[in-house]
Structures are given as structure tokens and as C-alpha cells.
């Protein structure tokens, strides 16, 4: 996969989703990521695996963009919302 389009983090997050059925090996050159998926057993469905992985990687790429834009705001919102939930003392 093109290392200019997909970050190592995106590839790793995508590959992690496949660790239920596959052993995963990731390598990287200057221009490309190489992903080796080895089925854990003979029953693993391999149909369209290449396309599925690429689609999932695109989803992860979108998630990466959303995280980059909203993470700070998200953290600030959670802190503001839960500030009141800090325990004080028992009412008894």
C-alpha cells in the first residue's frame, strides 16, 4: 500500500482488525507498506481479502483525519462534562 497515502498507524490499526483470523506481518519501505496476512486455519474466508483490507484501510484513514481535527475538542468536552461527576463525600 502507498506509504504516501496511508500512514503506518492507519495500516497497523487496519491490520489489527484482522488478527482474529490471521497472523499479521507489517513491513515498510520508503514508498510502500507491505502487509502479509497468514490464515490461522483452513476455514478462514479469503475471498476478496485484498479489497476488504483496502476498504478498511480507507475507513481507518478517514478516522485518522477525524481524530486529528477533533481530538483536542473531544478531550476538552469530556473534561468539562464530567467535572461535576468527581466524588465529593458520602451523603450519609
Amino acid at each position: 500500500m502507498d506509504a504516501g497515502l496511508f500512514s503506518a498507524d492507519v495500516v497497523a490499526r487496519t491490520a489489527h482488525r484482522y488478527t482474529d483470523c490471521f497472523f499479521v506481518e507489517l513491513t515498510r519501505s520508503d514508498y510502500a507498506h507491505t502487509i502479509a496476512l497468514t490464515p490461522k486455519n483452513d476455514d478462514v474466508d479469503l475471498s476478496g481479502i485484498d479489497g476488504r483490507f483496502r476498504n478498511d484501510a480507507l475507513d481507518e484513514r478517514l478516522r485518522e483525519r477525524i481524530r486529528a481535527e477533533t481530538m483536542d475538542l473531544h478531550v476538552s468536552l469530556v473534561q468539562a462534562a464530567l467535572r461535576q461527576a468527581a466524588p465529593t463525600s458520602a451523603e450519609s
Binding site: 482474529d20 464530567l82 466524588p87 463525600s89 450519609s92
Partner: protein, 477 residues
């Protein structure tokens, strides 16, 4: 904002906000949202803004409604544990192969809660700040040590004259050998009864054997007696699903209908106690449970369409999460986790656990999730290594894979379940049965709600609203 491709239509996505508001849209539209390509006059833009999925003008927008929604969704963390489980005895007259608590034979009274332990547990109960407390008596079979239950209720009520808490009592029992005196006491103290009914007679007797082979008859008689004295509303039942149960979704539901139940709980087996030992015989992959649940849901919708109102309790909880902005006390659907923060278990021997599952693990020899002993103050339990370990893996939003999941604002974290199944409190989501169950059921309910008839939608929405009306009620894990 998080998203998920819809398994039943990969060209569309579910998009959720941090507070659990959501929208279904085409993936192409979603790509335009991310690329900021929406026109200002597009209805989709207004819809996204109204649901706090995007903010077009940070100067003009207020975040107050989103904060309020988020607080509402997480309101369960403000008061501490509301569910307090007192295990008064481990003795039981059943020999269920899937027993999750490693019950003990009838004559073994050393497995009964002592008066000293009970006195300490009552003291600890009132150290928690919650105004609404549910005190649930469990076993083994709690009715075998009813004297302890009476003493506990009297001690709790005496203390509560000064405390002024709202306290609800529940017994989780087979209801076998229920006596008139016991029922009179329960009526006077406004008890609810929760029992186990696994389905029709052949299935219940096979799952819950007694030497006399009369488990079903005794349970049904107990249900009738309980209803007569405490009222229909006070008696509920739930099923535990063994492998043989999965062949009978229609029969199980029809049995509940025949007995006049308007609610059913379809629970998969848990990996604890005797259930672990008999897993090869009774267990099944979570995919089989999901296929069973889909058939059961179809039949439940048919039963409701015929005019008999009946809900499935776990589906009700998930729909409540999906279709309303409110939180509820269901321990499995909380983040931070409900273990120790939503529930506490006082075991017969004075050991305190953060959940029933932690107690079950202890009965299998792993006591690493014990919080402490009833002689110690609550603050000692909260500072225990077990609690730190639970909290470190207890926020779903911070767990690998969950962090990106579109369902995470509606879902929960279960570190103890993951430890029991995978040997690690954080767990490995791609192989997690907990995750597959939650995702599978959310997907199924959302798909049925979206693609169902108007009538089916109304039925599912009525379940969701039931969930919000029962916020103060306990839901059993």
C-alpha cells in the same frame, strides 16, 4: 464523531457523536462531510449540526447542549453503586451443569453468611452515597437461608429510618419450596422476585436437574404463588441458554407467553463456575447465539403484532441506548465500567467483589478481583489493587478498537469478563465474544428498526422507552 459501515448495506454508514446521537447516511455523503464539501443549504448539514455531529461555526455554536447530553448519558457515575448483592448462602438443591457460582450441597451450612458478616455488610451498604439502593439476595439458593435474609432486611430498614434512602429488595431464587411465611414477609417489605425459567418443561428440566426431575413444576408453582401474594408485576424470570436451548427460540418465547410474562431475558452462557467445566457439552460460539437471537427477535415481533406485548430485556436496554438520550443502570453497558462503580457483591464469607462475575471467578480459584472484606471501610476497597486494575481497563472509549467504534458511546467496558475469557482485562477486541455480542445485537436491532414495518418500529421504540422508564430498576447481569 465515529462511524461504521452498515453490515447490511456497505454503501452506507452509521455516524455517532460522542454523546451517542447518530445518523445513517451514504458513505459518499460521509466523505463529503469529512472533506467539508456540504453546501450551506443542504438539509444534511442542518441534520448533522442538530445532532452535534459537526460544528460549522465555532463562534456561533454553543456546546452546552452536547455537554448536557453527554452528562445525561453518563449520569450513572455520579452516585456510586446502586446494586448491592448479598450472597446469603452458597447451598443449593439443584445440580445445574452450567451453574456459574459453584453451588454447595444442602447440608454444608459453613457456606451460609454469618450474623457478624451480615452486620458488617449492612454498615458498609450505608457508606455508599447513592440515594436509591437495590438490595438483591442471591445464592446458591437464598431461600435456604431465609432467616439471614429476614435479619438483614430488618437491620437495613432499622438503619434506614435515619438514612432515608429509597431501598428496593429483590430475591433471585428458583422459588422452589417457597413458603407462605416467606411470602408474607416479602409482601410486607415490598420484595420483587427474580427466578430462572429456561423454557418449556423438557428444556427447563434438562438444564436444571433435580433428583426428583420436577424442577419445572416447582418453578411454575413458585411463580404462581409469588404472583398471588406479591402481584404479577413483582415476579420476573430469565433464561440461561445452553446449546440445546438454541434449537428452541420459538418454544422458549411461547412458554413465557403461556405463563403470562410480558418480559423475557435471553442470556448466553457465561464462562464461569460449572459452566466452564461443562463448556464442551453446553457451550457454543457467540455466532450461534446471535443467529438464535435473530430468530427469537422475529418471533417476539410477531407475538407483539398479535397483540400480546412482550419485550426482551437486553434488547430493550440496547434500544434504550440507541433511541433515547438517557442512561440506565445496566452494568454491562456502562463506561466507566459498572464493576465496583455500579454494583458491589457481599459474599457469604465476608469477601467483597465488584461484580457477580468477580465472585464467580473467585469460586473458580482466582480471587484477584476481590476488593477486600466487609470489616474494612469502603474507601479501602476503592483503593485496592483490584479496583485500580479494573479502572485501568474500565473506560471503553480508551480501549483498543473500542476507541474508534461507532457504538462506543452506547456501549460499555467489561474488564472482568475479558479477563475471564481472554486472560487480560483490556482484552483483544477482534476475538472478543463480548464485543461480537454487543456489535451483533446493536447491528441486528438497528437493522430491524430501520428496515422493519411501521408497526415493528413502534414495537421496538416502545421497548426503548420502557428502558428509560425503568432507570431506577435493577437489571441483572
Amino acid at each position: 464523531m465515529r462511524f461504521r459501515r452498515l453490515p447490511w448495506d456497505e454503501s452506507r454508514v452509521l455516524v455517532t457523536s460522542m454523546s451517542g446521537d447518530w445518523l445513517l447516511m451514504s458513505r459518499a455523503d460521509f466523505a463529503r462531510v469529512i472533506d467539508k464539501d456540504l453546501r450551506k443549504d443542504e438539509p444534511l448539514l442542518a441534520d448533522l449540526e442538530a445532532r452535534h455531529l459537526i460544528m460549522t461555526d465555532s463562534a456561533a455554536c454553543t456546546l452546552a447542549p452536547l455537554l448536557s447530553q453527554y452528562r445525561t448519558r453518563k449520569s450513572y457515575i455520579e452516585q456510586g453503586p446502586k446494586l448491592h448483592i448479598f450472597v446469603v448462602s452458597l447451598r443449593c438443591h439443584h445440580t445445574c451443569a452450567y451453574c456459574q457460582v459453584s453451588r454447595q450441597p444442602l447440608g454444608q451450612s459453613q457456606f451460609d453468611m454469618s450474623s457478624e458478616t451480615a452486620a458488617h455488610a449492612v454498615k458498609r451498604l450505608f457508606e455508599w452515597p447513592a440515594r436509591d439502593l437495590t438490595v438483591e439476595f442471591q445464592g446458591g439458593e437464598p431461600l435456604l437461608h431465609f432467616g439471614r435474609i429476614k435479619a438483614l432486611v430488618e437491620a437495613i430498614e432499622a438503619r434506614n429510618r435515619n438514612e432515608g434512602r429509597n431501598i428496593r429488595f429483590v430475591i433471585a431464587s428458583t422459588l422452589h419450596d417457597l413458603t407462605g411465611d416467606q411470602l408474607a414477609f416479602m409482601r410486607d417489605h415490598h420484595f420483587d422476585l427474580s427466578t430462572s425459567l429456561d423454557g418449556p418443561e423438557w428444556l427447563h428440566n434438562a438444564n436444571r436437574p433435580r433428583p426428583e426431575k420436577d424442577s419445572y413444576r416447582r418453578t411454575v408453582e413458585g411463580i404462581e404463588l409469588g404472583r398471588k401474594v406479591l402481584g404479577d408485576h413483582a415476579v420476573s424470570a430469565l433464561t440461561t441458554l445452553t446449546r440445546r436451548s438454541l434449537r428452541a427460540p420459538v418454544e422458549i418465547i411461547d412458554e413465557y407467553r403461556k405463563l403470562g410474562f410480558h418480559s423475557i431475558s435471553l442470556r448466553p452462557l457465561s464462562p464461569y463456575g460449572f459452566a466452564r467445566k461443562t463448556e464442551t457439552r453446553n457451550g457454543y460460539p457467540i455466532g450461534d447465539f446471535l443467529r438464535f437471537y435473530a430468530m427469537a427477535l422475529d418471533h417476539l415481533l410477531e407475538v407483539n403484532r398479535s397483540g400480546f406485548l412482550m419485550e426482551e430485556t437486553y434488547g430493550r436496554m440496547l434500544l434504550g441506548q440507541l433511541l433515547t438520550p438517557f442512561s440506565h443502570g445496566y452494568v454491562d453497558l456502562r463506561s466507566p465500567t459498572g464493576a465496583g462503580l455500579g454494583a458491589v457483591v457481599y459474599d457469604y464469607d465476608g469477601t467483597v467483589y465488584p461484580s457477580d462475575e468477580a465472585r464467580m471467578l473467585a469460586s473458580m480459584g482466582n480471587r484477584s478481583f476481590a476488593l477486600g472484606k466487609v470489616e474494612q471501610p469502603v474507601t479501602t476497597w476503592l483503593e485496592s489493587r483490584a479496583m485500580y486494575r479494573i479502572l485501568a481497563a474500565g473506560a471503553a472509549e480508551a480501549l483498543p478498537t473500542c476507541a474508534d467504534c461507532a457504538y462506543v458511546p452506547l456501549c460499555g467496558a467489561d474488564p472482568i469478563d475479558h479477563f475471564a475469557r481472554q486472560g487480560d482485562t483490556i482484552g483483544h477486541r477482534p476475538t472478543s465474544d463480548f464485543c461480537r455480542k454487543q456489535m451483533g445485537l446493536f447491528d441486528l436491532l438497528l437493522e430491524r428498526w430501520e428496515s422493519g414495518s411501521d408497526r415493528d418500529r413502534l414495537i421496538l421504540e416502545s421497548w426503548a422507552h420502557q428502558a428509560t422508564r425503568r432507570v431506577a430498576q435493577v437489571e441483572f447481569a
